[in-house]
């Protein structure tokens, strides 16, 4: 996280403190559902804008930062290797990973044009919520997409996504692990490779 965004997040966090103390602020089924609804609405807005690809990727990165638990996602993706990373490496990894995800999934946005994500149901699992949706894309049979959302960070955020049972975070941890192996376990080289990966 860059210093400026850290400061603005901290200020935003302070601003929200009074609203977060009451019991009414806990994540519930309808809030989990509306989180996913507005995430989908924001993504559709970017796709409909018809901007150039690089500027869409920046928009997707902004959406990803706003709706997802980026520190959880980065920590999960790094797996056990995160334990030996320095705090500088951790934050560099986190920002490289967010850019990588936005490019990787953003590049496929054309498949979503004219498609829709229909919320099928929300249920509480342990300490988080599972939002089941059905993706209907043009020229494809509908498929299941499930989001996991929690407010462990103090904000309602999604922290994982499953497509037809495939845990996307786990596939990214496999990718990061492979990049580490390829670079002889060197975390800095892995981060550099991630910045170049699409």
């Amino acid at each position: 996280m860059k210093r400026r965004s850290f400061i603005s997040t901290a200020i935003a966090g302070f601003g929200m403190l009074p609203f977060m103390s009451g019991a009414a602020s806990a994540l519930n089924e309808s809030r989990a559902e509306s989180l996913i609804d507005s995430l989908v609405a924001d993504i559709n807005k970017v796709i409909a804008s018809g901007k150039s690809e690089p500027s869409m990727f920046r928009e997707f990165e902004r959406i990803f930062a706003r709706y997802s638990d980026t520190s959880y996602i980065s920590a999960y993706a790094m797996g056990n290797d995160g334990r030996r990373a320095t705090s500088r490496q951790k934050s560099a990894f986190s920002s490289a990973f967010q850019g990588y995800i936005s490019r990787k999934y953003g590049r496929r946005f054309r498949e979503f044009i004219g498609g829709q994500l229909e919320v099928k149901g929300v249920k509480k699992v342990k300490q988080w919520y599972e939002v089941k949706t059905l993706a209907k894309l043009q020229g494809q049979s509908p498929f299941d997409v499930t989001f996991h959302a929690s407010d462990r960070s103090g904000k309602d955020l999604f922290f994982n996504m499953y497509i037809e049972g495939i845990n996307l975070l786990l596939t990214e941890r496999t990718e990061v692990g492979a990049l580490l192996d390829r670079n002889g376990g060197d975390i800095d080289k892995m981060i550099a490779a991630l910045k170049k990966a699409s």
Binding site: Q127, Q140, Y162, E164, G165, I166, T174, A178, D181, R182
Partner: protein, 253 residues
């Protein structure tokens, strides 16, 4: 339902296979990381390199060519035809799983599409609100309690497990049509399913390419994705091992 009796005749041939699978396929051991049990990784990786070469040299270009030359409507019809010929096998496997409803729907779909769908080239059943049915002998083994066993990458066919490999071999014999139809007609189905696989390879080209050619370790990606998706289709929730999101140390990220 004149294919029920061949189905039972066939059962006697299946039993040795089933017994073999029961003896050899075991569950995924508890200590395997990410729920992956891959004792044959070295051989599997060699097979993966072979499959990747096959895809690059043959399957991918053939799929591209097939989809470019053949109009979309014909491609869909060939896909429906191949799927329809597979329905009797779905009926047999549904019966073996004790899934009477699935067997009934698959039977109705087969009859509807064969009669009203011009011999299976149109999917009339879906338009009448009969949902698609898909199952195989690998799933039958799962419902019988056979464990997944080690991960295996098969030549030409790609990712599988020991249980699903046994299922694929047995499924060569579970389609009553292959007993009822003489050659050369029985090879129409094989041709249609190869063509329909080419259609799928091209339709999901971006996804397949990103796994095979853009990831840092395509073998590990294909293995993970196959296992997770297959377990999801089977409704197997015990083989995946997940960390509790609240136990992860996110400090510094």
């Amino acid at each position: 339902m004149n294919y029920i009796s061949p189905a039972f005749r066939m059962l006697s041939r299946l039993l040795p296979f089933g017994a073999l699978a029961l003896v050899t396929a075991c569950a995924v051991p508890q200590d395997s990381p990410d729920g992956i049990y891959d004792p044959y990784e070295k051989q599997n990786r060699k097979m993966h390199a072979f499959n990747r070469g096959l895809d690059k040299a043959l399957v991918r270009p053939a799929a591209r060519g097939y989809s470019q030359v053949v109009p979309d409507e014909i491609e869909d019809s060939v896909g429906h035809f191949a799927q329809n010929l597979g329905q009797p096998s779905v009926v047999v496997n549904s019966l073996l799983q004790g899934d009477m409803k699935g067997a009934g729907v698959a039977t109705a779909r087969f009859l509807t599409n064969t009669v009203l769908g011009f011999g299976g080239f149109a999917d009339a059943a879906t338009e009448f609100g009969m949902p698609e049915q898909d199952t195989d002998f690998g799933e039958t083994l799962y419902t019988w309690g056979v464990g997944e066993g080690p991960y295996i990458e098969l030549p030409g066919l790609g990712p599988s497990t020991q249980r699903d490999t046994t299922g694929k071999i047995v499924d060569l014999f579970t389609n009553p049509l292959s007993y009822a139809v003489d050659s050369p007609e029985k090879y129409y189905g094989t041709g249609a399913s190869v063509a329909s696989r080419l259609s799928d390879r091209d339709r999901y080209s971006d996804t397949v390419d990103s796994i095979l050619y853009e990831s840092a370790d395509s073998y590990a990606q294909a293995r993970l994705i196959y296992l997770q998706n297959r377990r999801f289709d089977l409704g197997d929730e015990t083989s995946n091992r997940e960390v509790d999101p609240f136990e992860l140390d996110t400090k510094g990220f």
